[in-house]
């Protein structure tokens, strides 16, 4: 390839990549701009691609007319607790699956993997009945329990993968020095795996934060709503007020954006771990 051709190729590549970036980012830009426009500008022609007058009225409305503070708090509590519990369970379960050969190990792995392929919706109705029997409807604790169950297989399997990359010798050395298995695990292995554990926690957190269908099935009282449930009721109750909706979208997406950016490398690994092998 001669020099000019190469320059042309590079230019074409840059244009295509730039165009795709624009397509990817525009929806986010648009929702942000919408959330900052006064109502009169949202619903008027010609459309403005930058607000003529920047306003935070939609954000204020969310917290004054709707109980967005309550929803935000609920989402935070449920996601933090569920992600914490599920990560701990993954740390324990992943360890045994990575380090021991025992009867039934394959069966446990299979039972976990199967849940990842079957749509959860099949269990939605019976789950409602179960929650009703356990008196957990309209309670954050109920949501937490179901979210933990939903994420246990993922957390356990991904943790197992992380353990397998830590040399067994590291642990054995500690055990030779007289530390028990559990102490060796806590003192030696876990510090090495800390980034992986953090990534698992964040991923689980974002899943809970975003979850919709379980939450709308179990929750309809105002004081137990999470953000997605509240936003869902914005749709059905009124003709959509797009200013508030845009503001709510921005509020709910910003934390996940920041968190996902922090663990991007691990998401790529997690996504590709199962499917891509040599």
């Amino acid at each position: 390839m001669n020099g000019t051709m190469r320059h042309v190729a590079t230019a074409v590549k840059a244009v295509v990549l730039g165009a795709w970036l624009l397509v990817t980012l525009f929806p986010l830009y648009w929702v942000l701009v919408t959330s900052l426009k006064p109502k009169s500008e949202i619903f008027s022609m010609p459309l403005k691609y930058w607000p003529g007058e920047v306003t935070f009225e939609h954000y204020e409305e969310l917290f004054s007319f709707a109980d967005f503070g309550v929803y935000l708090g609920n989402s935070l509590i449920v996601s933090l607790v569920a992600a914490g519990v599920v990560t701990s369970i993954g740390v324990l379960g992943g360890y045994t699956l990575a380090r021991f050969a025992f009867p039934g190990r394959g069966a446990v792995m299979l039972a976990f993997l199967v849940t990842q392929m079957i749509p959860l919706f099949i269990a939605l109705g019976p789950l409602y009945l179960l929650m009703s029997d356990l008196d957990l409807l309209n309670r954050l604790a109920g949501l937490m329990l179901v979210y933990v169950a939903m994420l246990v297989p993922f957390a356990t399997i991904i943790m197992r993968g992380f353990y397998e990359r830590v040399p067994v010798a590291l642990e054995e050395a500690a055990q030779v020095d007289g530390a028990s298995r559990l102490v060796a695990m806590v003192r030696v292995v876990i510090p090495v795996m800390l980034p992986g554990i953090a990534a698992t926690f964040i991923f689980a957190f974002v899943q809970c934060w975003n979850e919709l269908f379980l939450a709308i099935t179990f929750i309809d009282s105002e004081d137990a709503k999470t953000i997605p449930v509240a936003m869902n009721s914005f749709i059905t109750q009124y003709d959509i007020d797009w200013g508030s909706m845009a503001a709510a979208t921005v509020i709910s997406v910003v934390p996940t954006l920041v968190l996902f950016a922090a663990i991007r490398r691990y998401i790529v690994e997690g996504l590709t771990a199962g499917a891509v092998k040599g």
């Binding site: 990817t24 648009w30 045994t96 849940t115 749509p119 099949i122 109705g125 933990v148 891509v276 092998k277």
Partner: protein
Amino acid sequence: MSTARTPAGRAFTLRRARFILLCLLPGAVFVALFTYYPMIRGAVIAFQRYNLFDLTSTPFTGFENFRAVLAEDRFWTALRNTGTWVVVSLIFQFFLGFGLALLLRGHFRGRGLYQAWVFFPWAMSGFLIGLLWRWMFNGQFGVINDLLLKAGLIDERIGFLATPGWAMTSVIVANIWYGVTFFAIMIMAALQSVPRDLYEAASVDGASRLRQFWHVTLPHIRPTLALIVLLRIIWILNFPDLIYSMTGGGPAGSTDIITTFLIQQVIGGDYGRAGAVGLLVLGLLLAFSVFYLNATRFEKAR
């Protein structure tokens, strides 16, 4: 599955068994109680008359729920729509994702930053993405109408989400936007798995870039591609979130897919029928996976 790397020379002792049990028990209990139990109960309910608004009698009725579901036009519409939704979304996601992966293969300045930005749809839920596009496709104040008008591609605004044909196109566009990144990431990883010396050997033999791609890259990553596509098909089929918030399956059921149909049954309180739809979906997925895996294995053996 790889064999467990057990510390050398350690037998399976009672103490170790207790440790294993304690570590696995919490996870197993959660999954058994809140995943397997409801799934199994759902399968049983499929053969019962089970309506949330009349739980006084829930007799077993054999295949009555299945018959009722299969007799419904909306079910068949949803099934057809599922086909369109999966196939069209997949084709575009695949080829655009493949293109993006190839463009991102070499090193260039700002590549990491670029990937970080292009990655962002993954942080969003299907529900939020559906809302975003619902607003952009709005028939009156939607930005897509505005852009198309400005570009001179249309003469008057289109009620995208209110017109059956356009509604399906719209949800698929949103789904493509969401899924391209997934394919790009997976295919980039697959491309990296091709050993470099294969390329070197090929270029020594004087093969052009295109021929290298066709004869070295593609055969090497084909099994991975087949698996990625299968996972993706299952995933798109199980992905009602975006449609739910964008059109709710409307107008007139024209964007209903099998899983939004299932959710409507649950919301309607008819758990018997919901169970039946669930089992049908499961059967469909299973049959398709077996068929697909056989077909791609045949491909490999040839």
